[in-house]
């Protein structure tokens, strides 16, 4: 498979011609914003010819809370408690990137053990997020048992978070400068327990979901992303890897302690919804391996926070940075600008769903059967909150 996708002249980004609704031939259907098949609150405005979608428009705005604007009026430490709310299913990446960005801009380095704990935290987050996604994907194709298993099992991971960080969803743990407090006593034992169970569960999931004739029938051939589409559409993460594009920021541009962990980039070939789903299953397993590695290899002791100035009047010299991390959906990034004051000048949060749920979705939906639209949506793994911020 080619590594470089590049831009080919044959791709046409122009918007489709407006449909003549007065012809009476077509039906308009709104999917969402509260449709259970959609992860989060967004809606698709679908134009149907029979049960075939001929036009799709994504509408967002149901979750807009103006985080980027709010952050301009709060000081650096206060924003630390805001950022996690930008992506509900995966708050930890926001915490990490915000902390990492501030550390870069102010020349602070988090201590080694804190870096390990952050890595552990992010991989646990990935596991929890994939668990939820598996449930979503399965449910979107009408298999309702698997969601009961995985979403419930995710809560065991959340239990771990609760112990580790003091919170289940909004951990507020990766403070600028390090992490807030040390791992609890005997945490490794409980992590091992949960990971053992997760591995067992994934085997069961593979058996009842991935080997399921219904699932296969409905997901194979759905929503094909060709390698040629990847760069022109800004596709990243598993959506790109399933098309054979071997890119993973953890490997390509290692951050935290990923260069000290053993793993390979997983990629697929099929480029359809099934391939993407299978790739994510493998990545979930990889994630368990990474968590085990973190627990085994991290230094047993050491400082957890760098020396910090008084947060009440913490000023950061003028600067600009873009920091990114590989979240479950690919490149998640924080573009941050400081201007020497106690407040950040600009934060821009780049979530993969921004392209996956709009440009890519609108493209892939055309020609799809209305019954598969929820499945397609989930197979792109989109989180509306990160579009709107």
């Amino acid at each position: 498979m080619t590594q470089l996708t590049g831009h080919s002249a044959s791709l046409d980004f122009s918007q489709p011609e407006p449909v003549d609704m007065s012809s009476g031939k077509y039906v308009k259907l709104w999917q969402g914003p509260q449709h259970p098949g959609i992860t989060g609150n967004m809606s698709l405005e679908l134009t149907l010819d029979g049960d075939e979608i001929i036009e799709c428009k994504t509408h967002v705005g149901y979750l807009h809370r103006a985080f980027e604007k709010l952050m301009e009026g709060r000081n650096y430490i206060q924003n630390f408690t805001v950022v996690c709310r930008i992506a509900v299913p995966e708050p930890a990446f926001n915490e990490y990137l915000y902390a990492e960005g501030l550390e870069q801009l102010s020349g602070i380095e988090a201590p080694e053990r804190a870096q390990w704990i952050r890595t552990l935290n992010l991989e646990m987050m990935r596991l929890a997020s994939f668990m939820m996604w598996i449930g979503g994907q399965s449910g979107a194709f009408g298999l309702y048992t698997v969601p009961n298993w995985t979403i419930a099992y995710r809560d065991y991971v959340l239990d771990l978070f609760e112990e580790m960080t003091g919170g289940r969803i909004y951990h507020m743990y990766m403070v600028p400068g390090g992490v807030r407090f040390d791992l609890p006593k005997d945490f490794d034992k409980r992590v091992k327990e949960v990971m053992d169970g997760a591995e067992k569960l994934l085997d069961q999931v593979e058996r009842v979901m991935y080997n399921n004739v219904v699932f296969k029938a409905r997901s194979k051939g759905l929503g094909i992303i060709t390698p040629e589409m990847v760069d022109p559409y800004g596709i990243v993460g598993p959506n790109a890897r399933a098309s054979g594009i071997k890119r993973d920021l953890r490997k390509d541009e290692p951050y935290l302690v990923y260069d000290q962990l053993d793993f390979d980039i997983i990629s697929g070939t099929g480029a359809d919804a099934y391939e993407r789903a299978y790739l994510r299953l493998q990545e979930t397993r990889q994630c368990i391996s990474l968590i085990r590695q973190c627990m085994d290899r991290m230094p047993r002791s050491g400082p957890l926070q760098a020396e910090m100035p008084n947060v009440l009047h913490w000023k950061i010299p003028p600067g600009e940075t873009y920091v990114k991390a590989e979240c479950t959906r690919g490149e998640y990034g924080y573009f941050m600008v400081t201007d020497g004051t106690e407040y950040i000048r600009r934060v821009f949060v780049r979530g993969p769903s921004y392209t996956h749920a709009i440009a890519v979705m609108e493209k892939l939906a055309v020609g799809t059967n209305i019954a598969d639209i929820a499945g397609l949506m989930v197979s792109l793994h989109t989180y509306p909150p990160e579009i709107e911020r």
């Binding site: 709060r74 430490i77 206060q78 924003n79 630390f80 408690t81 805001v82 298999l143 048992t145 298993w149 419930a152 099992y153 809560d155 065991y156 239990d159 609760e162 112990e163 960080t165 003091g166 919170g167 909004y170 507020m172 403070v175 390090g178 807030r180 407090f181 040390d182 609890p184 069961q204 058996r207 009842v208 080997n211 399921n212 004739v213 219904v214 296969k216 029938a217 400082p303 957890l304 926070q305 020396e307 910090m308 100035p309 008084n310 947060v311 009440l312 009047h313």
Partner: protein, 602 residues
């Protein structure tokens, strides 16, 4: 399609008999994890109401509200945080920021109420069912939102310092001062405790901003002796600084000094820009100590013509003659005094009231008189042999040293007392080459001297003998020497409470020979310059004035302040007395300026 794919879904039945994930509430309890961020717990007795939780709360979920039970002043604002659970996001930044360490979160997360108002509550004051939970989030000891440790001050080593009268404290450089200033949390608790109510958080901010002109202006609003107080202030502000509750308090005194160090004396006039509009009235001030000169400065600013009468040949009072140069060099004191004088304050040195000019003539010649004559008479031990020529007073030794005279202490000295004068006299004696033994009747923890002074005296190899009560002074065989007889004391609890009292043990007496004995057991006032009639009209208790509002006395024209009129007897209180008297004198002499203001207030 293969058969396996068709059959594999039926595997789900295998799990039908497994234990479910869910727990059965309320039959099963599921407590939050040990570090869970649940509902707030505040130990209200430990909390000092500094308001940092309110400041850090990005949700504006914490209000500071008065709680009747806590009305105190000393390091307690009387306010307590009230939490609004309609806004709280349980980020626990308030816990991380809490200076007193009184605030934490419990691991309780279930609470219902029909009454919306219940979800706004003052934690630790209003009863809640979780308030005794031991578990829940607490700040980890190593984790701080502000640096808890003070930037260390460079000082002369004890060996270097006893070589002469060079200033022991070197002062912060700009970078050190910025770092120290950065630690301030701007709660403003210090402002209430400072006798002069200096705008401490504001001038500390000016250090962070590098705006020393502004810093100087802010200090002069309440204190015309910043160079002096920046060195020798008793700094009650630091004792209440909430940062000191779980770390070192902000070095407010050194920061004050740092500002003065950064500004050249010749720039004072430009920066402070004290434009004076003469008002044609005249005020006499008796005593050119910190109280008198503070009054003179603020009166002069209001346009009064001020004459200061001073018995000594230089202005400064105890600051010059009582505080040794290694703590407060003349250059520092003069920087303060010179600016006051530059505004047109006239100081008449070597003029003793009662001898050179009568007090009555001042009353006639001036529109008002401010008395701040201090405590200049050394207390007497009233033990046998005290009038021995080798018994010197601590004040005299200090005054001699300050004036460059040899106090003639010899090589082996006993100092009696545990106050700052005793420590100063001891350290001065060390610098004059003597071996020093300090005899004190109680314990080190009972000493009224500044703890740093005590430590520095110890470092400079002064021997402190505690629980030692002098009982008699006797002639020594060598007439240049003297013998002190003292007995050991046991500390006995006073049945009525209060501090333990020393009781002499008559079976454990000692006799030691010294070249001299320096008595530094306190000092009293000398009010001989006032006639009996005047004294009777002024409220005097235990030799000190007890002034009324605005330092006013029952004699219409007379205002009093400084050590002779307060119980705290330190420079900063005297400075405030002077400032306050200036306000009072202005109100007294120009009441028309205040009628409107007072009406507004009422």
């Amino acid at each position: 399609m293969n058969l396996k794919d068709l059959l594999s879904p039926f595997y789900v039945w295998q799990r039908a008999f497994e234990k479910p994930y869910t727990s059965m509430r309320p039959i099963e309890e599921r407590p939050g994890s040990p570090s869970y961020r649940g509902f707030h717990i505040n130990v209200a007795d430990t909390c000092v109401g500094c308001g940092c939780c309110h400041t850090i709360c990005q949700n504006d979920a914490i209000d500071m509200v008065p709680v009747e039970k806590y009305s105190g002043n000393k390091g307690d604002s009387g306010l307590r945080p009230r939490f609004d659970y309609g806004r709280c996001c349980w980020c626990a930044l308030c816990v991380d920021m809490c200076t007193a360490g009184s605030l934490r979160l419990s691991n309780e997360y279930i609470w219902t109420s029909r009454e919306p108002a219940d979800f706004m509550f003052v934690a630790g004051v209003e009863e809640k069912h979780w308030q005794d939970n031991e578990l829940g989030y607490r700040r980890e000891k190593s984790y701080h939102l502000y640096p808890p440790r003070r930037i260390e001050m460079e000082m002369l080593s004890p060996d270097e310092s006893i070589e002469g009268f060079d200033e022991v404290v070197k002062g912060y450089d700009v970078e050190q001062a910025k770092k120290e200033a950065d630690r301030c949390i701007e709660c403003g608790m210090c402002v209430a405790t400072c006798p002069a109510h200096m705008d401490v958080p504001d001038y500390i901010k000016s250090i962070r901003d590098g705006d020393y002109d502004e810093g100087l202006r802010l200090m002069y609003r309440t204190n015309p002796f910043p160079a002096t107080c920046g060195r020798i202030c008793t700094r009650r502000c630091e004792s209440v600084c909430p940062v000191g509750l779980q770390g070192d308090s902000i070095a407010i005194r050194w920061l004050k000094r740092h500002i003065v160090d950064q500004v050249d004396a010749k720039d004072y006039a430009r920066i402070l820009n004290d434009n004076i509009e003469e008002n044609g009235k005249q005020v006499a001030v008796i005593g050119a100590g910190p109280g008198g000169l503070s009054a003179a400065y603020y009166l002069r600013k209001k346009g009064y013509e001020v004459s200061v009468y001073e018995a000594q040949d230089k202005a400064g009072g105890m600051l010059r003659y009582g505080v040794p140069g290694y703590r407060l060099p003349d250059s520092g004191l003069d920087k303060d005094i010179n600016y006051i004088v530059s505004l047109g304050v006239e100081i008449r040195n070597n003029t003793r009231i009662g001898t050179d000019i009568s007090f009555e003539s001042l009353l006639n010649d001036y529109d008002a008189v401010f008395l701040s004559t201090g405590l200049s008479v050394p207390s007497s031990m009233r033990i046998n042999g005290e009038d021995h020529p080798r018994v010197l007073s601590g004040l005299q030794v200090l005054a001699d040293a300050a004036s460059g005279r040899d106090p003639g202490i010899g090589n082996k000295v006993a100092v009696i007392g545990g106050g700052n004068v005793a420590m100063d006299a001891s350290r001065v004696s060390r610098r004059l080459g003597a071996d020093v033994t300090i005899l004190y009747r109680r314990r080190i923890s009972d000493m009224p001297a500044d703890i740093e002074e005590i430590h520095e005296a110890q470092e400079e190899a002064c021997t402190i003998v505690t629980q030692a009560i002098p009982v008699e002074i006797m002639d020594a065989p060598d007439e240049k020497q003297v013998i002190i007889k003292w007995g050991e004391a046991e500390m006995v609890q006073d049945p009525k409470g209060g501090r333990p009292r020393p009781v002499l043990q008559e079976d454990r007496m000692h006799e030691d020979t010294y070249d001299c004995i320096i008595s530094a057991i306190g000092q009293g006032s000398n009010l001989d310059y006032l006639s009996k009639e005047v004294q009777e009209q002024l409220a005097i208790e235990w030799g000190r004035f007890t002034p009324g509002e605005y330092q006013h006395t029952s004699l219409e024209k007379v205002f009093v302040g400084g050590d002779v009129a307060n119980r705290t007897a330190d420079a900063i209180s005297a400075i405030e007395d002077g400032h306050h008297a200036a306000r009072g004198i202005d109100r007294f002499l120009r009441p028309e300026m205040y009628t409107e203001l007072d009406q507004e207030i009422s």
